[in-house]
Amino acid sequence: MSEFNGILTVTVFLPALAALVILLAKPFNLEDRIIRWFAILSTVATFVLSLIIFLAYDRDAGGVQFIDHISWLSAETIKSSYLLGVDGLSAPLVLLTGLLGMAAAFASRNIELRVSEYFIWLLLLEAAVMGVFVSLDLLLFFVFFEFEVIPMYMLISIWGTGRPRYSAMKFVLFTLGGGAFMFVGIFAVYLTGAVDTLTMVDVPKLGITGIPEQISGVSLIAPASLIFAFFLVAFAVKLPVWPLHNWLPDAHTDAPTAVSVMLAGVLLKMAGYGMIRINIGFFQETNGFTVHDAAGILSVIAAVSVVYGAIVTIRQTDMKRLIAYSSVSHMGFVLLGLTAIGGSTAANQLGGINGAALQMFTHGTITGLAFLMVGLAYDRTHTRHIPHLGGLWRRMPIIGIFFFIAGFASLGLPALSGFVSEIMVFLNSFPVWPWAASVSAFGVVLAAGYVLWMIQRTFFGSRPAEGGIPNDKYEELTDAEPLDLIPILVLTIPIFVIGIWPKVVVDVFKIGIEGILR
């Protein structure tokens, strides 16, 4: 049996195709302007496709939809195939990738250095991330997951600031290191006798029984706990989870704005997605060890991530580094939500994982917006050193407004999306892990501290502090341009929509998560 709808293949490969066109057009020495707008338009097209996928996903039918299936390995012992599809978990993440890809392209309007190469890598990055979210074959998933490293390395090391090579290499080593663990995990699954497929979920339409069903109750080739740990490490590096987080501040600080937007916005979400799809999806009824057994220790690590990340955040003096560390703290909430799987009631399990999934989505837009605003301010002030700033509101009120919105959303203000996901995580993890949840909830107080203090030192006041930006330069600072509003609004609108009416996304997520929890 086979099926090919094509829309997912097009969505994944459209940015890659656009990158190819830019590459082939190189000999013609087109104007940078044309290349820019071509790249931007291709991300807009990708966004439209991702929106169609999200809206057209049939919520009543549920399950895996928009399947693209081509069999490429069909041995007696194992079957692997080019298999794309979305379920309730991946549909919103596809939309998120489309949103952020578009925002990142718009935010790259002012790139001057090696324009065509820049956009080639940026488009390939989007294609890779999109591929991760729609691949349902473990091998294909791994290929996309690892491929993303290459464009990221190029983007940070060539177009970055500060110590770009160091940071880019650090990113590569961490990610590939984690990837190596995942590769071993995949092999362990592959070599287990009872498993004859690499498909990650059940696809009844194609007659495929997925890995979760096949490995439940059987003896794996290695202890289930070990295989679980291999996958976990790969994703924990990427999320990132304390103490594997140190690559993130460096990568964020030195990356160009658009790349930071992509990194915080969608790359980290690949890890949370992987944890739900694989660590939770595969290991619910495995022999000898299940994900429920790991939930307790993970909840402790989550709480440490949240509070540790927040405390370190308070000490930062570079705006980008500050936001990067706050990401460590906020991704701790994702992990905390996932640990609700250790709960005794289905309500808590579902609620916690839904909260985690929603937190991934909301953090993507909120932190994306924060990096975008810092980038815009940095383009003008040429410094991100907080003690050198101050009084920016007076010169750039529009940047200020949206920076405030990102900050407030980040500290969990109701009516903005961050609150919804955090309250869902807290409500459902507290009954399961009361101490870890309580300690994590204090992260919200610390978040108010670092966000408001940063705002106070950068945007409040009448002028930059002594030794900061000189007065004449300060008076020349300009506000955002009209075109900047496009990426800004692309990220701001979801923050409000989800904050006020979370069902828009939650109703889709829950279908996918109900399908994964059995």
């Binding site: 405390i311 000490r315 309500a347 109701p414 909830a441």
Partner: protein, 676 residues
Amino acid sequence: MASELTIWLIILLPAFAFVFNGLLLRWLPEIAAGPFRLTGKKSDLAGWLTVVAVGVSFVLSFLALLEVVSDGTQYFDMRSWIAISGVDIQFGIMLDQLTAIMLVVVSGVSFLVQLYGVGYMHGDDGYTRYFSYMALFTASMLGLVTARSVIQLFVFWELVGISSYLLIGFWLNRPSAAAAAKKAFLMTRFADFGFLLAILYLYSVDPSWLDIQEMYHAITAGAMAVSVASWIALGFLLGAMGKSAQFPLHSWLPDAMEGPTSVSALIHSATMVTAGVFLVARFFPLFEHSDIMFLVTVVGAVTAVFAASMALVADDIKRVLAYSTVSQLGYMMFALGVGAYGAAVFHLFTHAFFKACLFLAAGSVHHAGGTFNMNYLGGLKNHMKITYWAMVIASLSLAGIIPLSGFWSKDEILAHAAHGDSGIAMFALLMGLLGALMTAFYMFRAVIKTFHGEFRGGGGKEREDIEASGEVPPEGLEHVHLGESPWTMTVPIAILAFLAIVIGFFTNPIFDLGFANKHAFATFVVERNTDVFHDHEAQVHAGSEPKFDPLIAGISTVLAIGGIAIAWLLATRTGVIPASVEKMTLPFQNLLRRKYYFDELYEDLIVSRGFYSYFARLVDRLDISGFDNVNIQLYRWTDRAGRALAKVQDGQVQTYGIVSVVGLIVAIVIFVVVAQ
């Protein structure tokens, strides 16, 4: 039957004003503002739109109140906000007696403050921004009091917090405003941590209790254990202490006057700080069911005197009023603690009007004198008659002089404390009486220093003095133009002063009047609120029949008049207190001026030094030289190992040859040895 839509409109009208002022007005062409043109700018529309929106909200709130008077408590359907199987978070409207009173107070006071703001904020660069924040503030508070679900209440609770942050920090270019705004938000956020944990705990015990009606029923049915109730109540109390600035979380409120004075009027009277008292009142059955009522009493009673003591020496008129707010909230808190629900809500009600009046009058004083520093004011009574008399009336009301509104509500609280049977109630009574004396003193000290005697130069003079001492003068010192303020400012002040006279006696008379029954207010909020107070005994205990106690009333009146007399004596006659005694009180005065060193304790010692410079620095160091260093060392060792091993393949044929020969020899030797 008040329709649900009406209640939603009460919230949504100001919310719409917020969206319109904040977002839409920017794109509105100038011409569209035509009919509203008073001075020819479209931003004028922002002010009047907010006034109208809040005004209509007030009318609707009044209608809702009438509905509740005739029909009693109404619960409207819950609507699902997030629904996953098993997890269902719902929002709905709850319209009980407390809500109805709060709706009228909030929208009524807010309406007058908005009207005042049209004149007061005229010409400010952030005119539109001001009114959009004010509209958000009002909408949030209205949403808070109508919430039927605990989560919904928390949502609006936080929105109130953020709008106050924006308003306190309204003048973004003033560093002091930024610091005050952050301080207010952080201290209340810290307290909200307790609130949040209580919600989480409540949810984990029984998710259906998120619906306040269900919670009431569970408590009545005995389905909630006392220990559970105590833990939840403790968390709620912490949240309430933060918002209502109760000791020891009081120190943000005096600083919160950095915003425009009209903002302070709203924060201190009807919105924001009353939210804490409202919270305890809303969950009164929970608190009564818990073991921590004594804590509510103690916190309130200590705060009542503690805050009043700092007002005794404050030089800034707004600071005096701020401390007085904290102190009065303490009265409400301990009233709730001794079970006097009716008295607490009544005091909240009367206080909102006279406190708003005082703040608006203070703003009017600044309008004329250019400063809030009373050392530079004085003699204003001849220049601004309306402001002066409003201030005197509101101060008398606050001091609890018969027959003004503050007298009736404060005495009801004291009478309840006197009839309490515990030692803690007696303690509260003593603190309450002491507070009454102090209140009368500091208010009249302020009135006399501001309005009597000679004018001492105002904002211009203060600026000169500060510059002469070589320091940078704070912003907000303006030039003097002695005279009464415009009508948009004086009319609200006059209305509030009028209400400060009548609203106590005529809503809650001690005998039947033709249009108001005996104890109408108390009967309404307590006896008719059958969801909270089930039987007659509980109703009487909560104050459905206020025990007007002539003895207590007499003592407190004597104390209040005594306080006024002392203030008068100290201000007009020199040498009343011998110099030696005066000198002895100096250290104590200094302690009060430094606010018992709480700012130093919290900000310098705990947050700045303990947390930021020591603990957080340690963690940050650990991150860099601990965890990240592990990564770097791992990289270095890998690199070194690689370099070392690289020599194996350095391409030198001679080296390969030597190694091969040596290896061969070794292999042969081993082979021979092993074979032997």
